[in-house]
């Protein structure tokens, strides 16, 4: 096995003549925290959906967790976790029921579900809320829960689409601690964000502009090559070139 979690070559998605993702190529190492940045409408979510097997690429190739996105997308799904931009756990189920349901469809053994659920609720300090309906939780907790559910089946890679959107700074810090914990367990993290301080936490960062990747490097290297003091400045310099708007 090679050490790459994701290998993407010339991946393209065209919707009715509109090129949302325009021939992107990159590689993500195993265990890496890979920041996938870009302005709204740059094509981040579309690219991510192709890698998760939710969207069929128009052309190009991609291997995720060692599987081909065209032919082996169901095998990919066994090995990845995904947290969408829109909160998508069941609001009319309790915390425990949501965990149980997703664990169940990933085929985790019932005894293991029970023991892992207890452990997880302890970690999240949600033992008392375990039987509350998810709709009763504040957004920050919902996001933490969604992330925990996304990695409950110990995937090789987890895809996070703007996981901290609309969340307060303290919860954001907690959330990134959870991401670090996941990475420490060997899970590759593929994350999109609009917060440039979060970009600094990534091992490597790519910046997408108009469907293409314009820059890809460690935050440190990016800052020095753009002679910028922060990732914020780097992002502004690159994203200003964008011709298309939302």
């Amino acid at each position: 096995m090679n050490s790459k979690a994701i290998i993407v070559e010339n991946l393209t998605k065209i919707f009715n003549g509109f090129t949302a993702v325009d021939g992107i190529s990159f590689e993500v190492e195993k265990g890496e925290i890979f920041g996938f940045l870009g302005a709204n409408g740059a094509g981040k979510t579309t690219a991510m959906k192709m890698l998760c097997g939710l969207s069929m690429p128009t052309s190009g190739s991609a291997m995720v967790a060692g599987f081909d996105v065209y032919k082996e997308n169901e095998s990919i799904k066994k090995n990845i976790g995904y947290m969408s931009q829109k909160f998508s756990l069941y609001e009319d189920l309790t915390i425990k029921e949501n965990i149980r349901f997703y664990a169940g469809i990933y085929g985790i053994r019932p005894e293991l579900i029970t023991s892992k659920t207890t452990l997880l609720l302890e970690q999240l300090t949600l033992e008392k809320e375990a039987n509350l309906l998810v709709k009763q939780l504040p957004l920050g907790w919902k996001q933490k829960l969604a992330f925990s559910v996304a990695i409950f089946h110990d995937p090789q890679i987890v895809f996070l689409d703007e996981p901290t959107g609309g969340v307060d700074p303290i919860t954001r810090r907690d959330f990134w601690n959870m991401i670090y914990d996941a990475a420490a367990k060997g899970i590759t993290v593929f994350v999109t964000t609009h917060y440039m301080d979060e970009a600094e936490y990534c091992d490597r960062v790519s910046i997408m502009v108009d469907g293409q990747i314009d820059a890809l490097d460690t935050p440190g290297n990016l800052k020095s090559s753009f002679q910028a003091g922060s990732m914020d400045e780097v992002f502004l310099q690159i994203a200003r070139k964008a011709k298309r708007s939302e």
Binding site: Y82, K86, S88, R100, F101
Partner: protein, 372 residues
């Protein structure tokens, strides 16, 4: 535990937490089964009649009395002028005018025959038609009575009369509830089944949870079965409630076996729910799904043979009804409930329905795409 078990567990929890669904399943059928058959009464009563009596004789009086005492007619106007009666039709207060000419009685005795005039307000076609038929038979009876009482037996024998007597098999008293209630029950489970399943997957699309499902290795068949089975069970529960109401309120107990009906219903529900899920996989949002299922329901119901007989439809329409699952179930329901048909008698509709169920559900699984 198979993933399917987890999906079923989740679906049942969601159904029982949704008060709207519970209401639809338990209260709606009871109300509909009690209200609809009363409204969908084919017997027409209270036909408003205006009578123009130019004769004012004992015979004309007797005829008028027979008409008004028949329970079907309500005398709204009695005059000697046709124009006055016509006014009642013009302002919709009368449905029929019966005109008895002057000399009605004398002609009847002298010439052994006379004519009466009947005008019908055909704005409400069904009422007018039935009213005219009822009235004709009343006049006919009056006629026969007159012959017997007045004409000499010798003359009477010269005029042979063929009289038709009919007996109504399978529903001897022509109790309309016996064929309406089982039919309405069919419509009811069709509406509930189709609507609930049609908005189900599409709701997950709207909330966004479908994306989280699609990114798991869930099998499409498991997903569709997970949606199908709970509604299938609920559908059978609704039928049971329906039969309970039919028995308690209308005293209807199928002549045939409940088992036969449940077997057919089980297959029928698979077809209807599959159709709902199929709509759900194609629709983008709940409005679209509702609109499509409403459109199909209209056709299913109007061409289902409950309100209008399929045999009297034009040939192309009869051909269309062969693709209407509702038509099969109504037919089967009537045959089992009224005629006591058994499994062997309804083998053909069972096989056809099984075919529908397989094709539709296979199509639903195919059209559900985890990747766009």
């Amino acid at each position: 535990m198979s993933p399917l078990a987890y999906i079923l567990q989740k679906e049942f929890k969601q159904i029982f937490r949704d008060p709207a669904i519970i209401r639809v399943i338990f209260i709606l059928p009871i109300i509909q089964l009690i209200l609809l058959p009363m409204a969908a009464d084919y017997e027409i009563k209270n036909i408003n009649i205006a009578i123009v009596d130019r004769d004012h004789s004992p015979s004309s009086n007797r005829l008028i009395h027979t008409i008004t005492s028949s329970n079907y007619f309500r005398l709204v106007a009695y005059s000697s002028h046709f124009n006055q009666a016509m006014q009642n039709i013009d302002n919709d207060r009368a449905d029929l005018i019966l005109e008895l000419p002057s000399g009605f009685e004398s002609e009847l005795y002298a010439q052994k025959e006379t004519r009466v005039f009947l005008a019908v307000n055909a704005i409400n076609g069904v009422k007018a038609n039935l009213g005219a038929t009822y009235l004709r038979s009343i006049v006919q009876n009056f006629n026969n009575d007159f012959r017997i009482s007045v004409l000499t037996p010798g003359r009477f024998n010269d005029l042979p009369v063929i009289e038709t007597t009919s007996s109504n098999w399978y529903n001897p008293r022509m109790n309309y509830t016996f064929f309406m209630v089982p039919g309405i029950l069919v419509l009811l489970i069709t509406m509930i089944g189709l609507n609930l399943s049609a908005i189900n997957i599409v709701r997950e699309k709207e909330i966004g949870t479908i994306e989280q499902i699609n990114v798991t290795p869930i099998r499409k068949t498991h997903f569709i079965l997970g949606k199908l089975i709970p509604f299938w069970i609920l559908g059978l529960v609704v039928i049971t409630i329906g039969f309970a109401v039919a028995w308690l309120v209308y005293g209807i107990i199928p002549l045939g076996s409940y088992l036969t009906i449940y077997l057919f219903a089980a297959i029928y529900l698979l077809a209807i729910l599959g159709l709902g899920l199929l709509i759900s996989t194609y629709a983008e949002n709940q409005q679209q799904a509702m609109l499509i299922s409403f459109f199909l329901l209209m056709i299913f119901i109007l061409m289902g043979g409950l309100y209008t007989s399929i045999d009297s439809m034009p040939e192309w329409a009869q051909w269309v009804t062969r693709f209407n699952p509702v038509a099969y179930f109504i037919e089967v329901m009537r045959r089992v409930v009224l005629k006591g048909s058994g499994l062997a008698d309804i083998r053909q509709p069972i096989l056809i329905m099984l075919g529908f169920a397989i094709v539709i559900n296979y199509w639903a699984v195919l059209s559900y795409r985890k990747r766009s």
